[in-house]
C-alpha cells in the first residue's frame, strides 16, 4: 500500500473522497473524549444496530470533536446533494427520528439541529456538501462559531481520525509531497519565518527561527519533539487536536524533518490522554503503511519516522529541558540553558521542540503561503489560536480565533455571557502560569504581548471565566497549591518559595493573615518569578501577582473584615446563607431554634442579628436563596419567610412585652457616650438599635414626622403593613433610642452644630432625589417621580393620578408604583428598555404586578412625552429596542430600532433611579464622590471627617433594605469600637445552646411559599398581598435546612 508516485497518491485520495462523500447518506458521530463522556458511544452503537436491523444503506463513521463541548454529543448527518447537518445533544432515543428523517429526505427534529455546513474549507482542500435546509442556520451563524477561523481545527469533527484516506481526501499529506518534490529546505524555512508563526505552547518564540537553528546544527543525528504534555488545569485543546486529526500533526513533523535534517520525531504525550495516544499510534502505523513515514517517504528518498512516548503526568515535563530529561529516562527536572536544545538536546544531540498546535499550522502555511497566514491575526501575532473556553459562560468549548481578538468577544459573543446571571468578574488565561484579567479590561486583545503586559500569559490557551462566586484569593491559592506540588524541587525559589507562598495564602483563606502578609507575599512572588530556574517557577507567581494587582481589595477583605464575599473560604463564614446576608444573620441558628419549638429563643436570635425582621421578612431581596446549598437538591430553603413568621408571632402577639424585656436585658452598661444619627430609615434605625444595646445614648434626627424612611414612605402598605413596622420601631424605642422628627439637617440644624453635642455622628439619609430622565415633555402636567408619588400615597394624601398610567423603569420603585396605581384604579403600563431578565426588581413582584393587571412592555425606550394643548400628558412615545452588545454590567445594551410605539395615557411616573441629595452636608467638609455619595473607609465606614460615619444608600447609591441595614450594623460595631477602644459585639449575643448534629434525613418537602391574596381582591385594596407561611409550613421549612453551619471536627 506504500504510495510511491502521484498516481498512487491520487488513487488513495479518490478512495478517501468516496468515504467522505459517499453515494449514500453518511452519519458521523463526534467521538472525542468529550463526546464519549456525554454518551457518544451509546449513540454510535444505537446507530450501528439500527442501520443493521433496518438494513439501511447508510455509512457510519466516528469523527473527532467540532469543539462545542456544551452541546455534546455532536452528530453530523449528510445526504448526498444536501448540506452537512450538525446535530447537538444527540442521545440514543433520537436515533430513530434521525434515521427516519434521512429515509424520508426531511430534516431531523428541530430541537437537535444545531447548524448546517454547505461547503467547508479544509485549507489543504475544499469540500462541497450541497445546498438546502433554508431554515437551518449556517454553522458560522451560530453565536458560538461566529467569528471563529478554523485553521488548526480545520479537520476536527469532520473526518474520521482513524482513517488516513479521509485525511488524504481533504488534501492531507499534499503539503509534504509538495515539499519533497520541489522545495529546498531553506525555502520552506523562509516561508515559515515569513509567516511569523510563533510557538503555540505559550512562550511565543518564532518557529521559523527555531527550525533554522536546528537545520544549521551539525551532525546526522537530530531530533524533533512534539510537546503534547498538556497539563494546565482547564486546557484540553491539544487532546482534542490529536484525537480528532492526528495526521495533520504527523504531516507537520514530517515536513520539519525534511527541512531540518532530522530523521526522528518523538511525540511526548500525557498518559492521561489514552484516546489521543491510541489514535496517534494508529495514525503512525497507517502513515508508515502508506509510505508517509519510514524509509523512502513517498518514494522521494527521505527517511523519517515518529514514535510516541507517554509522559507520566508531571506538569514540569512540559518545560522543554525537563521533557528531554524525561525522554532520556531521568527524572523530569529542567536544566539550565545555555546550552539550548537546538545545540545540545535529547541525548546531547540537536533537538527542536514545538507544541502540538504549532505543528498543525505547518501544512496550511506550506499550502497557502506565508502571506495568506499573516492576513489573519495581529501585527506581531499572526494566525489563529485555539482556546478552551470554560467556566461561568453559557457556551463552553474549543474556540479558534484570530490572535488579537478582544477578550469580550470570547466571553460575551462566543460564550454567550454569564451562565447563571451573576456578574462575570475576571477571566484567567494561561492556567497556573497565567493570571486573572478583570472585567474592566475585557477590551484587551488576546495576543502574546498584550497579555504579558497585564501580567498574564497566553500559555497554551486555557481561558477560565469567573464570576462573583469565585474568590480571587482562593483562585490564587489553588494555582499556587498546584505549582508548589508540581515544582520539581531543584531550585530554591520555586521549591521553597512556592511552599511558603502557599502557607501565606492559606492564612488569608482562614482569616489569620495580616496586612504585612500582602507585602510579604508580593515580595516573595517577585523573587520567585525573577530568580527561578525554569519557566514553571518563573511563571508560577503570575496568578498571585495579577490577583494582587487587580483584586487587592479581596485580599484586604479577607484580612480586615475576615470576609470572603464569594463565600468560597468556608472558615470565614458560618454558612453560605449567613455569608450572603448583608446583616450576617445566623440563619441556621434561628431555623434550628424554631425547629426545636423555642419561639422566644428563635426570636431573640433573629432580633439580635436583625432589628427589623418582620419588615425584611417581607421585602428583603433574599440573597440567601441564591446561595442555599439545598438548591442543589431541589430548591432553596425559604429563610426569609421563616424569620417573618418568627417575628410576626412575637411582635404581633401578647408575647411582645415579655420578649422586648428579654431584648432589653442584653443591653450593656450605660457608657455615657452620645451618638447622633441622621436619618431614621432602615440604616439609621439599625445603627441606633445596636448603639443602644451597646449602652450609648442615641438620638435620631429625621426630617419626616415618623421613623422608617423608605420602609414607611416608599414601600406600599400592601407589601409592608405599617403596623408591623410600628412594632419593630417600638421595640427600638424601648431600648432608649430618642427620636427628633421634623428636623431637617442642613436647615433647622447643621452637621457642625450636631458635631459639638455628640461623641460620634452617623449619617444615613438615603437616596430621595429622583434621577430625572431628560426627554421632551417631562415638564407636562401629569408627569411625576416615583418616590414622591409613593410617599404621597403612603401618607394617605390625595394624589393626581389619572385613568391610564405609564411607568418608566424596571426597578422595585417602578413595580411598586405600577401596583399602587392599579390600586388607585388606573390602567397601568410599565415601559422598560431591556428584557425582563434584566429587570432589577424582585421577580416575584414583577409577576404579582402582572397578576394584578399591569401590562409590561419590554424593549421599549421612552422617546418623548406627548402633551395636549393644555399642557397635560396625552401619550408616551417609545422607541422599540433590540438587545445589542453586552455592556459592562453583563447585560445586552438596548439598541434603538426604527419602530416607534405610542401609548395613550394621562399620567407618566418616572422610576428611573434615585440619587443622594447632598445639600445636607454643605460646609461640613465631607468629601463626596461625583454622584453625591459620601466617601468612607471601606471597613470602618468613617468619612473624611473624624468621628463622622456614613452608611446605607448615602454611600452606596440606591440599593435595597438589607444592604442598607448591613451598613447600619457595621457602623454601630465600628462606632462602638472607636468610642470604647475594644470589640464588644460578641458580648451582645447570648450563648444559644441548640442541636449541633446535622439532620440524618432532612425533610424531603419542596420549598414552601406563602399563599397570596387573590389578584381580584387586591386591586382597590391595600391589604397585604403575601399572607406569610403558616406555623406548620414554617416548621417544615426549618427541617429542610441541611445545616451547613456544622463542620466536621476532623479536618
Amino acid at each position: 500500500m506504500r504510495i510511491g508516485d502521484i498516481a498512487a497518491f491520487a488513487a488513495v485520495r479518490e478512495a478517501g473522497l468516496a468515504k467522505l462523500l459517499p453515494s449514500k447518506p453518511r452519519i458521523a458521530v463526534g467521538m472525542g473524549t468529550c463526546g464519549s463522556g456525554n454518551g457518544a458511544e451509546a449513540v454510535y452503537s444505537a446507530f450501528s444496530s439500527q442501520i443493521d436491523v433496518r438494513g439501511l444503506a447508510i455509512q457510519l463513521a466516528p469523527v473527532g470533536c467540532f469543539g462545542f463541548c456544551a452541546e455534546e454529543p455532536l452528530v453530523n448527518v449528510w445526504v448526498p446533494g444536501r448540506p452537512l447537518l450538525m446535530l447537538h445533544g444527540v442521545q440514543p432515543n433520537h436515533v430513530d427520528a434521525i434515521l427516519n428523517a434521512i429515509h424520508n429526505g426531511t430534516q431531523p427534529p428541530a430541537e437537535i439541529v444545531l447548524c448546517k455546513i454547505e461547503e467547508w474549507d479544509h485549507i489543504t482542500g475544499h469540500v462541497k456538501y450541497g445546498t438546502g435546509f433554508p431554515d437551518v442556520p449556517n454553522w458560522n451563524e451560530v453565536p458560538f462559531f461566529s467569528g471563529q477561523v478554523k485553521t488548526v481545527l480545520r479537520n476536527c469533527g469532520l473526518i474520521n481520525p482513524d482513517d488516513i484516506e479521509e485525511y488524504i481526501a481533504i488534501g492531507g499529506y499534499q503539503a509534504l509531497y509538495k515539499v519533497l518534490i520541489d522545495q529546498s529546505p531553506a525555502n520552506v524555512i523562509e516561508q515559515i519565518k515569513a509567516s511569523k508563526l510563533r510557538g503555540r505552547g505559550g512562550a511565543g518564540y518564532l518557529t521559523g527561527n527555531k527550525w533554522e537553528f536546528l537545520a544549521k546544527a551539525p551532525g546526522p543525528e537530530k531530533y524533533l519533539i512534539c510537546n503534547a504534555d498538556e497539563g494546565d488545569p482547564g486546557a484540553y485543546m491539544n487532546r482534542n487536536e490529536i484525537e480528532s486529526d492526528p495526521h495533520a500533526l504527523l504531516e507537520g513533523m514530517a515536513i520539519a524533518g525534511y527541512v531540518t535534517g532530522a530523521a526522528r520525531g518523538i511525540v511526548y504525550v500525557r498518559a492521561e490522554y489514552p484516546l489521543a495516544v491510541l489514535r496517534l499510534e494508529h495514525a503512525i502505523e497507517q502513515a508508515r503503511a502508506y509510505g508517509m513515514l519510514g524509509t523512502n517517504v513517498l518514494g522521494r528518498g527521505f527517511d523519517f519516522d515518529i514514535d510516541t512516548v507517554e509522559g507520566a503526568g508531571a506538569f514540569v515535563c512540559g518545560e522543554e529541558t525537563a521533557l528531554i530529561a524525561s525522554l532520556e529516562g531521568q527524572s523530569g527536572r529542567p536544566r539550565v540553558r545555555p546550552p539550548f536544545p537546538a545545540q545540545k538536546g535529547l541525548l546531547g544531540k540537536p533537538t527542536n521542540i514545538n507544541n502540538v498546535e504549532t505543528w498543525y499550522n505547518i501544512a496550511p502555511i506550506v499550502t497557502k503561503g506565508p502571506a495568506w497566514f499573516t492576513e489573519t491575526g495581529s501585527a506581531k501575532s499572526a494566525g489563529t489560536k485555539v482556546f478552551s473556553l470554560v467556566g461561568k459562560v453559557k457556551s463552553t468549548g474549543l474556540v479558534e480565533m484570530p490572535l488579537g481578538t478582544p477578550i469580550s468577544t470570547f466571553i460575551y459573543d462566543i460564550g454567550g455571557g454569564s451562565s447563571n446571571g451573576r456578574d462575570i468578574k475576571a477571566v484567567q488565561t494561561g492556567g497556573p502560569s497565567g493570571g486573572c484579567i478583570p472585567a474592566e479590561m475585557f477590551d484587551t486583545p488576546v495576543d502574546y504581548e498584550t497579555l504579558a503586559q497585564l501580567g498574564s500569559i497566553m500559555g497554551s490557551g486555557g481561558m477560565v471565566v469567573m464570576d462573583d462566586d469565585n474568590c480571587m484569593v482562593d483562585v490564587a491559592r489553588y494555582f499556587i497549591e498546584f505549582t508548589q506540588a508540581e515544582s520539581c524541587g531543584k531550585c530554591v525559589p520555586c521549591r521553597v518559595g512556592l511552599d511558603k507562598a502557599l502557607r501565606i495564602l492559606n492564612g488569608f483563606t482562614v482569616g489569620t493573615a495580616t496586612m504585612a502578609d500582602i507585602a510579604a507575599l508580593d515580595e516573595l512572588c517577585r523573587m520567585v518569578r525573577d530568580t527561578s530556574l525554569c519557566g514553571l517557577g518563573q511563571s508560577a507567581p503570575n496568578p498571585v501577582l495579577t490577583s494582587l494587582r487587580h483584586f487587592r481589595h479581596e485580599f484586604e477583605d479577607h484580612i480586615v473584615a475576615k470576609r470572603c464575599r464569594a463565600g468560597v473560604c468556608e472558615d470565614l463564614a458560618i454558612s453560605p446563607c449567613e455569608n450572603s446576608c448583608p446583616l450576617h444573620m445566623n440563619i441556621p441558628r434561628f431555623l434550628q431554634l424554631y425547629k426545636e419549638g423555642r419561639l422566644e429563643d428563635a426570636f431573640l436570635s433573629v432580633i439580635l442579628d436583625n432589628p427589623l425582621p418582620a419588615s425584611t421578612g417581607r421585602v428583603c431581596q433574599h440573597p440567601c436563596d441564591d446561595h442555599c446549598r439545598r438548591a442543589g437538591l431541589d430548591e432553596a430553603v425559604n429563610m426569609r419567610d421563616v424569620h417573618r413568621v418568627i417575628a410576626d408571632e412575637v411582635l404581633l402577639s401578647d408575647k411582645f412585652d415579655a420578649v422586648a424585656a428579654r431584648v432589653a436585658e442584653r443591653k450593656l452598661e450605660p457608657t455615657g457616650r452620645d451618638v447622633a444619627i441622621i436619618g431614621a430609615g432602615p440604616t439609621g434605625l439599625t445603627c441606633a438599635y445596636y448603639l443602644a444595646l451597646f449602652g450609648h445614648s442615641v438620638t435620631v434626627f429625621d426630617s419626616r414626622p415618623a421613623a422608617g424612611g423608605m420602609l414607611r414612605y416608599a414601600l406600599p402598605e400592601y407589601r409592608l403593613p405599617k403596623k408591623v413596622l410600628d412594632r419593630e420601631i417600638e421595640l427600638i424605642e424601648r431600648l432608649g433610642v430618642k427620636f427628633q422628627f421634623n428636623v431637617s439637617v442642613g436647615e433647622e440644624t447643621t452637621l457642625n452644630d450636631i458635631a459639638h453635642q455628640f461623641d460620634a455622628v452617623f449619617m444615613a439619609i438615603g437616596t430621595w432625589k429622583e434621577a430625572w430622565v431628560y426627554l421632551p415633555g417631562t415638564e407636562l402636567t401629569g408627569v411625576m417621580a416615583a418616590l414622591p408619588f409613593l410617599e404621597t400615597v403612603s401618607r394617605d394624601e390625595p394624589v393626581a393620578v389619572g385613568k391610564s398610567v405609564v411607568v418608566i423603569g424596571g426597578g422595585n420603585a417602578a413595580i411598586d408604583s405600577a401596583r399602587t396605581a392599579r390600586r388607585l384604579g388606573a390602567d397601568v403600563t410599565v415601559v422598560y428598555r431591556r428584557e425582563r431578565k434584566d429587570m432589577p426588581a424582585i421577580p416575584e413582584e414583577i409577576q404579582a404586578a402582572e397578576h394584578e393587571g399591569a401590562k409590561i412592555v419590554y424593549l421599549a425606550a421612552p422617546h418623548r412625552i406627548v402633551g395636549d394643548r393644555n399642557g397635560q400628558v396625552k401619550a408616551l412615545e417609545a422607541v422599540r429596542t433590540k438587545p445589542g452588545e453586552f455592556d459592562k454590567s453583563g447585560r445586552r445594551r438596548p439598541m434603538p430600532t426604527d419602530e416607534v410605539i405610542r401609548i395613550d395615557c394621562d399620567t407618566v411616573i418616572l422610576a428611573v433611579g434615585e440619587k443622594v441629595d447632598p445639600d445636607f452636608c454643605k460646609a461640613s467638609g465631607l468629601v463626596l464622590k461625583e454622584d453625591g455619595t459620601i466617601v468612607v473607609d471601606r471597613y470602618s465606614l468613617e468619612s473624611s471627617r473624624e468621628r463622622f460615619y456614613a452608611g446605607g444608600d448615602l454611600i452606596s447609591g440606591a440599593s435595597n433594605v438589607s444592604n442598607a441595614m448591613g451598613f447600619g450594623k457595621k457602623a454601630a460595631r465600628n462606632i462602638d469600637k472607636r468610642l470604647m477602644g475594644q470589640k464588644r459585639f460578641a458580648s451582645l449575643i447570648p450563648d444559644f445552646v441548640y442541636e449541633m448534629e446535622p439532620p440524618e434525613t432532612p425533610s424531603e418537602c419542596r420549598r414552601h411559599v406563602p399563599s397570596e391574596l387573590p389578584a381580584a381582591k387586591r386591586v382597590g385594596s391595600y391589604a397585604e398581598v403575601s399572607l406569610g407561611l403558616t406555623a406548620v409550613a414554617a416548621l417544615e421549612e426549618t427541617s429542610r435546612c441541611l445545616r451547613c453551619d456544622i463542620r466536621s471536627t476532623e479536618r
Partner: protein, 235 residues
C-alpha cells in the same frame, strides 16, 4: 577555546577566556558572588540561585555559575534587589528544614551559616515548615542528617563525577525532594559506596558529617575535592 574576551565586573575591566562562566571569572579575580550549589571542579546545576547577577542589556537576572562570558559583557554582582533576593533565598532555606546551629557539628564551618552572616540574616520572615526528617546513621563512618540538607546536590555530583560511584541522587519533587543513597537503601547498605568520604567533604552544611564529632567540631576539606578534579584535567 582560548579566545580572550574583556568583561566588566562591577565596573572593573577584566580579561577572561570565552566559555568561562561569570562566576569563574569573578572568583579568579577576587570578585565575590555568593553561591551554595556551585563547587569548583563539579558540573554546574544552577539550583541555589544565590549567584544571580545583573547583566546590562538583559532584562532578566542571570545565574553567574552557568552564564558564559562574552566580549563586552558588563555584570553587576550586587544591587539592592539582588541583596534582597539573596537574603530571601537564604531565609527560605532556613525555613525549609530544621537548621539549628546550636547543636550542629558544622556550626562555625558551615557555608549556609556563613552566607547568612554575610547577608545579615538575623531572622526569618517565613513560617517554618518543621518537617519530620530522619537521620541516617547506618554507615559505619559517616552520618546523613536530612534536617540539615539544602539539596544543593554537591554530594551527588562529587560521587558521580569525581568518585564515579553515583551512590547519591535526588528523589521526590518539590518540598518533598530527598537525597537518597543507591536504590533508596540506607547509606550503610549501599554496596556501591566506596566509603571514600568525598561527599562528606563536599557538603556545605552539617547534613553529612563524619561520626565522632561534637558540636562545631566538624571541619571540611572542600578544596581537596576541587583539587582532585583540577589535577585530573591534565590527563
Amino acid at each position: 577555546m582560548t579566545e580572550k574576551v574583556k568583561v566588566r565586573i562591577d565596573g572593573e575591566v577584566i580579561a577572561a577566556t570565552a566559555g568561562q562562566t561569570i562566576l569563574e571569572v569573578a572568583r579568579t579575580n577576587n570578585k565575590y558572588i555568593p553561591a551554595l550549589c556551585y563547587m569548583e571542579g563539579l558540573s554546574t546545576v544552577g539550583a541555589c540561585r544565590l549567584c544571580m547577577v545583573e547583566v546590562s542589556g538583559v532584562a532578566r537576572l542571570l545565574p553567574a555559575c552557568t552564564t558564559p562570558v562574552q566580549e563586552g559583557l558588563a555584570v553587576a554582582t550586587t544591587s539592592p534587589q539582588l541583596e534582597s533576593y539573596r537574603k530571601m533565598a537564604l531565609e527560605l532555606l532556613f525555613a525549609e528544614r530544621n537548621h539549628v546551629c546550636a547543636v550542629c557539628v558544622s556550626s562555625g564551618h558551615c557555608e549556609l551559616q556563613t552566607l547568612a552572616q554575610e547577608h545579615g540574616v538575623t531572622s526569618v520572615r517565613y513560617p517554618y515548615s518543621y518537617p519530620r526528617l530522619p537521620v541516617d546513621t547506618t554507615h559505619p563512618r559517616f552520618v546523613l542528617d536530612h534536617n540539615r540538607c539544602v539539596l544543593c546536590s554537591r554530594c551527588v555530583r562529587t560521587c558521580a563525577e569525581v568518585e564515579g560511584a553515583h551512590v547519591w541522587d535526588l528523589a521526590g519533587r518539590g518540598v518533598g525532594s530527598r537525597l537518597v543513597s543507591e536504590l533508596q537503601r540506607p547509606w550503610g547498605e549501599a554496596t556501591s559506596c566506596t566509603s571514600c568520604g568525598k561527599c562528606v567533604q563536599a557538603c556545605p552544611t552539617g547534613a553529612m558529617a563524619e561520626k565522632g564529632f561534637g558540636v562545631e567540631e566538624m571541619t571540611k576539606r572542600r578544596a581537596a575535592v576541587s583539587r582532585l578534579t583540577s589535577m585530573r584535567e591534565g590527563e
